[in-house]
């Protein structure tokens, strides 16, 4: 039992204000996306537009090819990136967690050092573009995010080392199981909490990534949804230039509304699934905080 409670109504009042501050910008975004263009032009973005209209969404629907294309790119890189990232992180972390690995200290240091020092953007960019020729390929959207600088590996390694009893591994050994079999049959199933956590973080990183797209991708077919959003944010003319609105340049397009509608379309999937993974996400953050 907790004793000496704070005044509950006051605490709730503070949190209602805080929660409102977190939600209100999204509300403004949504309301603007269903405003008619003329009410945006006359009255600005507002929480209760003079005139509701779905013209922005109708317009987006007319551009569904480009929209679906970038959704496809995002989903593809998220699925592949999460799966491959998780796989190679676990594969690398597992031997590091074993006491009997030769040169274990050195290998751990190799991973740890990447957290402390890096070459910087320019050399990384040149390696990816000049040596591996990844500019304008899907690889450029997937590869840079795989291990996110060794941080995930250290988390997984700590989990393996602390939560999987050595005896289990030894007894499997005696029964004649190979290293891979032990890893696949014993270690992975016992590590679902950490794998789910890292998987979730990777998924969010890939879904939200716009930086790699900004740096490595110049071809519109390869734009992820975030990159499409990014181009539209900095340059509203992007719609016309890239054939997203090419056919009727003369007609007054619902540009301001479309911008906001695009943003809604970009957030929607995350907001919809958030309630379901919220619990795991919080757990994951907490695991991530412990060293």
């Amino acid at each position: 039992m907790k004793t000496n409670d704070m005044n509950q109504p006051v605490v709730h009042a503070i949190f209602i204000v805080l929660a409102a501050l977190c939600v209100i910008p999204f509300l403004l975004l949504f309301m603007s996306s269903i405003s008619s263009e003329s009410s945006i032009v006359n009255n600005g973005y507002s929480f209760w537009p003079k005139q509701f209209s779905l013209e922005a969404y109708t317009y987006l629907w007319s551009q569904k090819l480009a929209m679906f294309n970038s959704y496809g790119v995002t989903i593809l890189i998220t699925v592949i990136g999460t799966f491959v990232g998780l796989l190679i992180s676990a594969l690398l972390a597992y031997p590091l967690s074993r006491q009997d690995l030769p040169i274990r200290g050195f290998l751990s240091f190799l991973v740890f050092f990447t957290l402390l020092f890096n070459g910087g953007l320019v050399p990384t960019y040149l390696i990816y573009t000049e040596v591996f020729h990844m500019k304008n390929t899907l690889m450029a959207l997937i590869v840079p995010g795989l291990l996110t600088n060794g941080f995930f590996i250290l988390l997984i390694r700590t989990f393996f080392a602390n939560s999987i009893p050595v005896q289990i591994i030894e007894s499997a050994y005696i029964d004649g199981a190979s290293e891979f079999k032990i890893f696949y049959r014993m270690v992975l199933p016992l590590s679902l909490p950490i794998l789910a956590t890292i998987g979730l973080m990777l998924t969010i990183n890939y879904w939200n990534d716009w930086f790699n797209g900004l740096v490595y991708i110049t071809e519109p077919q390869l734009f992820s949804i975030q990159n499409l959003l990014n181009r539209m944010l900095s340059n509203i003319q992007f719609l016309q230039q890239n054939n997203l609105g090419g056919q009727n340049m003369a007609v007054n397009l619902p540009m301001n509304g479309v911008r906001m509608a695009m943003a809604v379309v970009g957030i929607l999937p995350l907001i919809l699934i958030y309630p379901f993974f919220q619990k795991y996400f919080v757990k994951g953050l907490t695991i991530g905080a412990v060293k």
């Binding site: 805080l18 977190c22 594969l91 070459g119 910087g120 953007l121 390696i127 040596v131 060293k291």
Partner: protein, 289 residues
């Protein structure tokens, strides 16, 4: 088993480390990176002779420094309050909502800020300021407001994450301490000061240490997306990351840009070692390594 992961680390992390030689070369694509002429510290000289070096260093440190202080203070406050919410359901609801901004990409945050600040149609200019009788402001051309705007946006996006971490630490505190304190007649404020904060100090130290180690790196998205890369704002929004990016992608000044990048990596590295050393002097357990 380790081959794919190690190969990846080498390619993604170690090869670029050798790439830092670019900072000491006069890059000429015809000759290739290795074939280009060595010019020693010339790139650094150019960099530090410009006003840019001072501005971006100052901005980077001032912004990140105030972010560290404000974020920590704010997140601890919210976490302590959240721990006081008695209704389980309400506590979970508040937590989810406060964490929401953390999930959203900076691009979207850029949109949210635009919907508030846009000159022709932003909410502030067309609805809020007229109510208060203030003339519209062209936010994206007025540098003086941006230190505040960026700080608020950063707090808005980052508090949820730190708050969850501190909350986890607070929940781990044994309830007996509070019961004993209550019997001794300690007020709530007293308990927070003498029990809660000291007991979550290790978590606070580690999070701060991690942040100080990265004080030379900035959230690129915050400084690039939120001000919409607006030219007039650069004196107050430019940080090392955005400078390096612009040098590489827009100006094509690879030498200077990689010199700035190396400057950032090296100083960042030294700062991690230094802050870790200081913490480990005071208490071994709280240090990172």
């Amino acid at each position: 088993m380790m081959v794919p992961g190690l190969a990846y680390l080498i390619m993604n992390n170690y090869l670029p480390m050798f790439g830092v030689i670019i900072a000491f070369k006069d890059i000429n694509y015809a000759k290739g990176i290795l074939g280009s002429d060595w010019i020693g510290f010339k790139n650094f000289e150019y960099l530090f002779m410009t006003k840019d070096a001072l501005v971006i260093t100052r901005n980077t440190i001032l912004y990140n420094g105030s972010f560290i202080i404000l974020n920590t203070a704010f997140a601890i406050g919210v976490a302590i309050l959240l721990n006081e919410v008695r209704s389980k359901f309400a506590a979970r609801l508040y937590q989810s909502v406060i964490l929401l901004p953390f999930l959203i990409s900076m691009v979207i945050v850029g949109y949210l800020v635009l919907s508030m600040l846009s000159a022709e149609s932003g909410y502030l200019n067309l609805n809020l300021l007229p109510m208060l009788g203030i003339e519209p402001i062209s936010w994206y051309f007025e540098p003086k407001y941006w230190p505040y705007i960026l700080t608020i946006v950063q707090l808005w996006k980052g508090t949820g994450y730190l708050c969850v971490i501190f909350l986890a630490a607070i929940i781990g505190i044994d309830n007996e301490y509070y019961e004993a304190a209550t019997i001794d007649g300690a007020s709530k404020w007293h308990q927070i000061r003498s029990i809660t904060v000291p007991l979550i100090a290790p978590t606070i130290t580690i999070m701060t240490l991690l942040a100080i180690g990265r004080i030379f790196y900035s959230d690129f998205g915050l400084f690039y997306q939120v001000p919409l890369n607006s030219g007039p704002l650069q004196p107050v929004t430019d940080v090392i990351d955005t400078y390096v990016y612009r040098g590489l992608m827009t100006l094509g000044d690879i030498g200077m840009s990689s010199a700035a990048g190396l400057y950032q990596s090296v100083v960042g590295f030294v700062l991690v070692l230094l802050s870790n050393y200081i913490v480990s002097k005071r208490s071994k357990e709280n240090a990172l390594f």
